[in-house]
Symmetry: C2
Subunit: 190 residues, 2 copies
């Protein structure tokens, strides 16, 4: 477990270096959780108590449309933050599902703990500010990709940006994320 | 001009109330800028010195694909923040265009001023944290809309969320934002 906490500290200190005393305060705001492959981290219509930092594993965030089709918004793996952020922030029922593609381990941060952290340690406010800002930029790029790129371009960019992801994600899910059929994806990979 | 500064202060204080002394410090970090309809706020391949808070007016953020087709990422109007945030944050050339659909007025915040503000006034760090977080949530919703909704659903949701925008944006641009042809849009509006 100690090694997990060290990884989280390193992740935070890439943006906001902390004193040992500050880190002690930060660390006790997180709780540990583990889930098996196929288990849900978040289910639609349920409340979302926490946001989650992935220690190990792989998850998908998705919605299911009125025809039962799954649409993948994001993948999350080691060192990613994930949640249904709208539901979490406003403490309303989730509109998204998040489940585990692999056995996964997390640190959970409850809303009240995050706000307390930001009040007590301004460096943590800065950490979350920068993370949100980069998250925003990444989503802008995903939108531009959905609006302007062909399936082939999207696939090639994903290989460039996240080569390890391609190895770990079943083809069916990759196709859903890219917004193409599995047949199109097989053609691209051929 | 005084009324513009009051509007900015009100906007910030909806999240982070400030003392008069803090506000004085904040206000001097912003500069005023005005542009006429069709003028560019940001052009592709140029550096992006600032992020912009819209006092008055309406703008569109877009990209142009290899076939010369325009794809609209976002609109910005009164009280919105806009920029090519990736280029701004990393001080690299813009990949997006932003131009004015109406005559527009802004407060500009340079990167070094924003960082200085966040260093000096933790409440401003918190303001930007919350704004980024809500911006992130809004973009997630736009992605889900692009992945799962029909043109008709997207149009109806836009009417619900931003009724004033529909009145102000030319149909051609609205169609580009929704990712539909102008003919489809006319049918929806009929």
């Amino acid at each position: 477990m100690e090694e997990y906490y060290l990884a989280l500290r390193k992740h935070i200190e890439e943006i906001s270096p902390l004193t040992d005393q500050e880190w002690e305060y930060v660390a006790q705001c997180f709780t540990y959780k583990t889930l098996k492959k196929h288990q849900f981290l978040i289910q639609k219509d349920e409340l979302v108590p926490s946001e989650y930092w992935v220690i190990k594993g792989l998850l998908k965030t998705y919605t299911i449309d009125s025809e039962g089709k799954e649409h993948i918004l994001q993948f999350a793996m080691e060192q990613y933050w994930t949640s249904d952020f709208q539901a979490f922030q406003n403490q309303i029922p989730a509109t998204l599902f998040i489940d585990c593609i692999e056995d996964s381990e997390f640190f959970c941060l409850r809303l009240e703990n995050r706000e307390r952290l930001c009040q007590e340690i301004p460096k943590m406010t800065n950490f979350f500010r920068i993370k949100s800002h980069y998250g925003y930029i990444a989503l802008q790029q995903r939108i531009m990709s959905l609006l302007t790129e062909t399936a082939e371009e999207r696939y090639n960019n994903l290989i460039k940006k996240l080569p390890h992801l391609i190895q770990r994600v079943p083809k069916k899910l990759l196709a859903s994320y890219l917004g193409v059929t599995r047949e199109t994806l097989s053609r691209l990979k051929g």
